[in-house]
Symmetry: C2
Subunit: 79 residues, 2 copies
């Protein structure tokens, strides 16, 4: 089973990387880019075949390792 995790900074948390990308896009001549937020996407190949168990363990992985839950939010999607 495959799971996909999106980890993004929580709204309100400054995203220096996103700002850097926005600035660089402007330098390259791309106009109208009002905001950029950058996060992580993590694809996991799991031996688990039960969707509920897979989702529960991926959420636990997020809480323990994949996301810094103080400043980041995550979403889990089984693919």
């Amino acid at each position: 089973m495959k799971a996909r995790v999106h980890v993004m900074l929580k709204t309100g948390v400054l995203d220096p990387q996103g700002e850097a990308v926005r600035h660089a896009l402007g330098t390259l001549g791309f106009e109208g880019v009002q905001g950029v937020r950058q996060g992580k996407v993590i694809e996991l190949d799991l031996a688990e075949t039960d969707p509920a168990a897979a989702e529960a363990s991926v959420k636990e992985m997020c809480e323990k390792l994949l996301a810094n839950t103080v400043i980041e939010s995550y979403s889990v999607e089984l693919v």
Copy 2:
């Protein structure tokens, strides 16, 4: 208009970061994690209102800056 870009390493390209995450998950006691691939997700707030024009310019941003098209593939999604 909002666009979301996923940038992932192409299949076959070694993903050291994914390997490190897989190893760390194993150390934390998570079994059955057969593979991990990590990429970027970039959310763009665009002033452009025409979907076709927005998609075209985001693809150009990917080609020029957001993705290293030698080793990475990208997908663009208007949200």
